[in-house]
């Protein structure tokens, strides 16, 4: 957020504000005066933004907290006590996301550990638009509010949740690779409001399919299903509002021994600026890891581009909308590769290696095994074992070329830890799940 008031050279140069535009607010006996302009920063839907100029209103709230809230609206500097202000924000109907500082990738620090009760390990993470964080452990989902000060836990019928996606503020989609159907869980009531099932042969009454990945676009919810016998897979597109199935894409069935044909997608990512769905899946076979990455046009149901990964297959892959590119970590080399979405190539040669490319290939070592890659805003984050590295772009003067540069994250004390299995982003935060841990690790950019 930019500084909202233009710095003045002195008080004397301030234009005097006509008394008619002043809004007076009596908060439990204490008088506050401000302007409609300041109050408008609280967002269109808020009670404060609706107060007319020249009016005097009364609110039965804590004046000290209101003072902090007003100071925040005036200066846009994040308040020192966000968790105290959250009830005030709810009362005045202000978006809690407003309170979070801007995401600054270079000032991300490991700042908070959120413990999970019980004995189940953290298995999946999701962030919601409002800044809250959802963590699945076993069949339970614990939701932390946007200030990470409060939590709530609900129980689902799933044994171990391994796909989690926030659909709206209160609704979460959860899936498991050993249990059928996507479950839509309503957090406030703690109930499964709907299940979304798919079966490859509906007429044969075959058992419903298990869930390999969940993704979403502004209009649709995508689920990658695989039949329990692993003979058929498909991505089903649901309407995000009604959850009615819209279409089925990427249907694959195995006939005979052609295993590669039916690798289900284990990662679904929507590429907003291209209106395409990236679906990627890999399979460890006798000839090593092979996989494929496809870009789907959801409307036509056809694949726009696809690549079969045979040499240095991806350990993980992600699109980055801001950089119009797809990034992957090679499972053998461990290097980060990039492919421009505007000029897609074919095969291994189409990938451009971001590192020095000196890492030996085919020495039998799997440098990139278990690596995760995610993009957020202009950065690409790669986990290697217990560490995270961030790739940021530097534009050079003159030729105007951009170079991607690697940054290590954290200080010496942050190094190490169990292997990272998932990284999700939201607001000013990176949320990390590590293998066999009972807590959620939060990295925040602090100012």
């Amino acid at each position: 957020m930019a500084h909202r008031s233009s710095p003045a050279s002195g008080v004397e140069s301030q234009p005097s504000i006509p008394s008619s535009s002043i809004v007076s607010i009596n908060v439990s006996g204490e008088l506050f005066q401000t302007t409609t302009q300041t109050l408008s920063f609280s967002g269109a839907g808020s009670v404060l933004a609706a107060l007319p100029a020249g009016s005097l209103s009364f609110f039965d709230r804590d004046p000290a907290l209101f003072s902090s809230l007003l100071a925040f609206l005036r200066s846009s500097l994040p308040p020192a006590n966000p968790q105290d202000l959250l009830p005030e924000l709810l009362f005045f109907r202000i978006d809690p996301l407003l309170l979070l500082p801007k995401f600054d990738p270079f000032s991300l620090q490991r700042s908070i550990l959120l413990p999970l009760h019980g004995r189940d390990h953290l298995s999946a993470l999701a962030t919601a638009a409002g800044g809250s964080v959802h963590a699945a452990h076993g069949g339970k989902i614990t939701t932390f509010d946007s200030t990470l000060a409060r939590r709530d836990t609900v129980l689902t019928p799933l044994p171990v949740i391994d796909s989690l996606l926030s659909v709206s503020c209160s609704l979460i989609a959860a899936g498991a690779s050993d249990f059928p159907s996507v479950h839509l869980v309503d957090i406030p009531s703690g109930r499964v409001s709907q299940t979304l099932a798919w079966s490859p042969y509906p007429l044969n009454a075959s058992p419903p399919a298990i869930v390999q990945a969940i993704g979403s676009s502004p209009e649709h919810l995508f689920a990658s299903f695989e039949s329990p016998r692993r003979t058929a897979s498909a991505i089903v597109v649901f309407d995000l509002n009604t959850f009615a199935p819209v279409t089925e894409i990427a249907r694959r069935e195995i006939y005979g021994a052609e295993l590669d044909s039916a690798i289900p997608a284990t990662k679904l990512k929507w590429v907003e600026s291209f209106n395409l769905l990236m679906a990627a899946g890999s399979h460890a076979g006798p000839s090593g890891l092979t996989g494929n990455i496809r870009l789907w046009d959801v409307r036509s149901g056809g694949s726009v581009w696809e690549t079969a990964e045979k040499v240095d297959c991806f350990a993980d892959v992600t699109p980055c909308d801001h950089l119009s590119a797809i990034f992957k970590v090679g499972v053998h080399s461990g290097e980060v590769f990039v492919m421009d979405l505007r000029k897609m190539g074919d095969g291994h040669s189409a990938w451009m290696c971001l590192g020095d490319g000196r890492k030996a290939m085919g020495n039998g070592k799997k440098e990139g095994s278990g690596c995760r890659i995610e993009s957020y805003e202009n950065q690409v984050f790669v986990s290697r074992g217990g560490e995270v590295e961030m790739w940021s772009s530097v534009s050079m003067a003159g030729a105007g070329e951009k170079v991607m540069k690697r940054n290590l994250m954290g200080r010496a004390k942050d190094a190490g830890g169990n292997r990272i299995v998932q990284m999700v982003f939201g607001g000013n935060r990176m949320v990390v799940a590590r293998k066999d841990e009972h807590c959620v690790e939060v990295w925040e950019s602090l100012r």
Binding site: H3, S5, P7, A8, S9, G10, V11, E12, S13, Q14, S16, I17, S19, I22, S24, I25, L31, F32, Q33, T34, T35, Q37, T38, S67, L70, A71, R74, S75, L77, A80, D104, F106, S107, L108, Q109, S392, V394, S395, M396, A397, G398, V403, K405, R406, N407, L408, M409, G410, R411, A412, S445, L446, R447
Partner: protein, 444 residues
């Protein structure tokens, strides 16, 4: 004191009334904007206003200000246009090595081992290069930005202007210019020599730049074949305007300078290089005429000047720009010597002696820095300061024994009224300040 009625000024800040005088807020009493019978309404936070008003009245920030983050105070002072007053109220007193404490340690968020530092010469702000990034901290040492450069290891960092950094790395060719707030790359300067094909992809080993002048900046370039020279680069065009001091790099006396200082009043550039080997330290100091490119003076150790202290060559040297003196610390004895720049000759060194303190160890791995007419020497045993008393130098320790344990000082720079230093293998930059607070500790 009763003050005249017409010099009084009334404010309504966010619903709270304030009354002060035009003298306090520093406006002419006849100013129309504040001469209202009605209080002037300002839509800002009343508590912050009250703190700033108090600062304007007494030039002291009330202790209740700690309730607010420094950043909120600074932004508010910028809004009211009183940032210089707040700065003078919050700034540390004049820096004295004999009365300095570790005020804080600045830790960048990631990759926190500093590889170069550049303080602001007047305001005590700081830029830290770490892991290819540059983090900037303002005069209140609040983090203002972190940018990523294309370099992976920045080994030289200087201020070209308050917003532009000149950076160089011994791993990557060229001298580069980055805007510190936006991170945009302004351009690069390279050393090229059409007559010598060996000169290509030359990297920078040291930069000298004085902010707020139109003087060129100077940088030492070294080519892969060890040829090196000093280049003068124009501040505005970023073009090379002169090159001098070309050396072959074949021996330690021909090596590229690792320390470069511009003395604008004398028109000289001070360059020095030191290397340590099996037979001790060897190196040189040279003074170059910045305009003609001619060498004015040089001393090479060991050998060269010979003199009284043969075999005790210098481990580090720095030039005191204001005083016009060169200081060195000897590697074997740990002694500090001074050379007056007005009478440099074969052996201009006057060894500083303090009968009170004896050298415990030698000067191996020392770092010497001249700041505010004091000489700071970081040694393995601690940080010592040489201060002048009636023309005599007296030596004292700045730090306690516990401080020295944190590691050998690898770099030290003064700026504003602060001394910034980094230590071997230690994350972050230590900020040392003089303070008038007693630091009283509750005993019960």
């Amino acid at each position: 004191m009763v003050q005249e009625m017409d010099s009084r000024v009334k404010f309504n800040v966010g619903g709270k009334l304030f009354e002060t005088t035009s003298a306090t807020i520093g406006t002419a009493s006849g100013d129309a904007a504040v001469q209202h019978h009605e209080p002037l309404f300002i839509d800002r936070d009343p508590e912050l206003f009250s703190l700033l008003l108090s600062t304007l009245r007494s030039d002291r920030l009330p202790s209740t200000a700690t309730r607010f983050p420094k950043r909120a105070l600074v932004e508010e002072a910028i809004y009211y246009g009183v940032a210089p007053r707040l700065r003078s109220a919050m700034a540390p007193p004049p820096f004295l090595g004999i009365n300095a404490t570790l005020a804080t340690t600045i830790l960048p968020a990631s990759h926190a081992l500093p590889t170069a530092i550049a303080p602001g010469s007047h305001d005590g702000s700081l830029w830290i290069a770490h892991g290819g990034q540059i983090s900037s901290y303002d005069w209140s040492l609040t983090h203002s930005s972190t940018i990523r450069t294309h370099l992976d290891d920045i080994t030289s960092l200087r201020r070209l202007s308050p917003v532009v950094a000149a950076v160089g790395s011994v791993d990557s060719p060229g001298l580069h210019f980055y805007e510190i707030s936006s991170g945009s790359h302004h351009g690069s300067t390279h050393w090229s020599d059409p007559s010598d094909l060996r000169v290509y992809k030359a990297w920078v080993t040291a930069i000298a730049s004085d902010v707020d002048t139109t003087n060129p900046i100077f940088a030492v370039f070294e080519a892969p074949h060890r040829e090196n020279c000093i280049m003068a680069v124009d501040r505005a065009t970023l073009q090379v305007v002169a090159q001098f001091g070309r050396l072959s790099g074949s021996s330690s006396k021909m090596a590229p300078a690792r320390r470069l200082t511009h003395l604008p009043d004398r028109g000289l550039v001070f360059a020095s290089a030191v290397s340590s080997g099996a037979f001790g330290y060897s190196g040189y100091m040279r003074l170059w005429d910045a305009r003609s490119g001619a060498m004015v003076w040089e001393t090479c150790e060991p050998g060269g000047s010979g003199g009284r202290r043969f075999g005790d060559s210098f481990a580090d040297a720095d030039v005191d720009v204001e005083e016009g003196a060169i200081y060195k610390v000897c590697w074997k004895s740990g002694d500090v010597a001074m050379a007056d720049m007005r009478k440099l000759g074969d052996d201009p060194w006057a060894y500083l002696e303090d009968p009170g303190v004896r050298n415990l160890a030698g000067g191996e791995g020392s770092f010497l820095h001249c700041f505010k007419e004091q000489v700071f020497v970081g040694k393995a045993e601690g940080l010592e300061v040489w201060s002048q008393l009636d023309g005599q130098f007296r030596r004292n320790y700045v730090d306690a024994k516990e401080d020295a344990i944190r590691g050998t000082i690898t770099r030290m720079e003064g700026g504003g009224n602060r001394l910034f230093l980094s230590r071997e293998g230690m994350e972050g930059v230590e900020v040392w300040e003089s303070s008038d607070f007693s630091g009283a500790i509750a005993a019960c």
